[in-house]
Amino acid sequence: MKLGKIKINHYINYLVIGLLLIVLSSMTVAGVRFDNSLLFLLEKVAIGIILAVSLSLVVGFLGELSLGHAGFMCVGAYLGGKVAALLVPALGNGVLAFVISLLAGCAAAAVCGIIVGIPALRLRGDYLAIVTLAFGEIVKSLFRNTSYESFGGTLGLDTPRFDKKYLFIIAFLLVLLTLMVVQNYIRSKHGRAVTAIRDNEIAARATGINVTKYKLMTFTLSAALAGMAGVLYSYSNYTVQSTQFGYNYSIEMLVMVVLGGMGSINGSIIAAALITWLNTWLPTKLTGDLAVLQNLLYALVLIVIVIYNNAPKLKGFRDKYNLGVLLNKFKKHDASKINDDKAKWDVVPTKISMDEVLSVDFTPQDLGPDKEGGRK
């Protein structure tokens, strides 16, 4: 659908979030007082969306796995929170102090992203996963062992909390900023280079793309955005404690990205909102020992969705029964038309057949169906 030259699909998420924000903030200005639990939920949803979208940049578009996203958030939360704690007495708890601490938090997280990215991203394979995992543990342990005066040590850092009546507005403005940065990056020349690297690194290298540079750039951007979410976190809580930012939190973000569909920004947004809401709602339903079922649910979501979406043998099944096909049945559209629309940036480009073009290797499929037990 087009409005003149502007494609509405590019802007649909800004539109929804922007509209929601305008309605809610005008209500706030008009004097409506929302329940605190709702305000807290909105803040957490915004933080969740920023995290999921930024992680999606690495997992969905770069095709690398980061298991230390919470670590970058932790750096942002501590550094941003510390700067805020120092500035607020001088500047007041206002927007200026917030912006400065936001920049500080983002910068700190970005620097960490570069430090972690340099050793891991020039290698091929699963190194980024393990290095980011290690990074998350290092950060946790370092902040936990700081002195009380510097970063609060075991007790955690005391941070100023923004007026909770208005924080959600800032939070959603940051969500819009994140979307703008990420979507423009993906649609730019750089974004296409990144997708090319994901689909075939060797081919991308052969066409002259500086693979390490683009990988590092994308990863650093993602880390900086996670740092931003961290600063927001520090502003929405009185205490920043490094134990919050453990492995489980990183996995939760991964679940959001996988549930939303890897490479789909809109999917990540919806999944982030859904999971954040589930995190507050499920504990009221699954009390006591049942609360563990939540983790079990996340685990199953990860396994089932990934196998369903990726298993080579399920391809025929997927093509027949997927959300797009089902939706198109209702719309009475021609399914092929949708796929021809090159403007659909938010659909993962299906694995380009670069492999087939460049590869002379035999794959088992070339030898007929890959039967159990290999050759018969």
Binding site: G125, L254, G373
Partner: protein, 290 residues
């Protein structure tokens, strides 16, 4: 002198456990080309099986049942979660592995609760050696690790099955063309890795007599770190990396000033190694082919 000796022996026995886990990681990585994140949690399952069977009071039976259970678990995981993804992107396999790891942990938490359980497998006692008190269990751990590594190296080098493993590791498609049953080889690899994990669980219990649902997580991550430091895919490398990490950890805990930063130190070593020598100490350089 006495202090140095006892620290060293502690480090070596801890390193032995890491090496044992790292061997499993490195074999699966080398042959199935995947990072089996759930490997650490197989240790945990082994620990719980030992805990349950120890109700009979027979340590040998407990160990045997644990090894068998872990082998079955390893093969099942490979069949159900990883095999459908053969040929899919490495990222998909990695995320599934994390899902499996998370699944095992939550299942254990549901079944056994979150509080750790104490279990004493067998008490070897301790001996005096050059003035230092040495746990016999530590010596047993070290001895078994060395034997296992030697047997594995010989197995891979000199048996038909072992050579088939190398072939699959070098070039899966070519191996298949040569008549090697790739799926069977990968299943066997998982079985060997899982049985090593069960043994690691046993040694862990001899050192620290309690099981909890997170007991495999940290040793798993550290063992993978060890495997990368030693050179992923290399059997002696896993051994070397494990021992190195164990000794570093032991020394670091000994020095009061840096003790709180022990984990940070260990993981920093990983990052430095990847910067300086990405293939690890004993890893082979791989050439990318189109």
């Amino acid at each position: 002198m006495e202090v140095i000796l006892s620290t060293l022996i502690n480090g070596l026995s801890l390193g032995g456990i890491y090496a044992m886990i790292a061997l499993g990681y490195t074999m699966v990585y080398g042959i199935a080309k995947m990072l089996n994140f759930a490997h650490g949690d197989i240790i945990m399952v082994g620990g719980y099986v030992i805990f349950v069977v120890m109700a009979t009071g027979n340590p040998l039976l407990a160990v045997a049942v644990a090894v068998i259970a872990c082998v079955i678990l390893g093969i099942t995981i490979e069949r159900v979660a990883y095999r459908p993804l053969r040929g899919a992107s490495p990222l998909a396999v990695l995320i599934t592995a994390i899902g499996v790891s998370y699944l095992l942990q939550s299942l254990a938490q549901i079944i056994f609760g979150s509080a750790p359980k104490m279990v004493t497998v067998y008490e070897f006692g301790s001996v005096q050696f050059l003035g230092a008190t040495v746990q016999v269990a530590s010596l047993v751990t070290m001895a078994v690790t060395v034997v296992v590594m030697a047997v594995l190296t010989l197995f891979v080098k000199y048996t038909r099955l072992g050579r088939a493993m190398i072939a699959v590791s070098e070039d899966r498609d070519a191996a298949q063309l040569m008549g090697i049953n790739v799926n069977a080889i990968i299943t066997i690899t998982f079985a060997i890795g899982s049985s090593l994990a069960a043994l690691a669980g046993l040694f862990y219990l001899m050192k620290a007599p309690n099981v909890s649902f997170t007991m495999g997580a940290m040793p798993g991550i550290k063992a993978f770190t060890a495997a990368v430091i030693g050179g992923i895919g290399s059997i002696p490398g896993a051994m070397l990396g494990g021992i190195l990490l164990g000794v570093v950890e032991s020394i670091s805990y000994k020095i009061t000033a840096i003790a709180p930063y022990t984990d940070a130190i260990e993981f920093s070593i990983l990052i430095i190694i990847l910067l300086v020598r990405p293939t690890g100490f004993l890893g082979k350089k791989r050439r990318e082919k189109v």
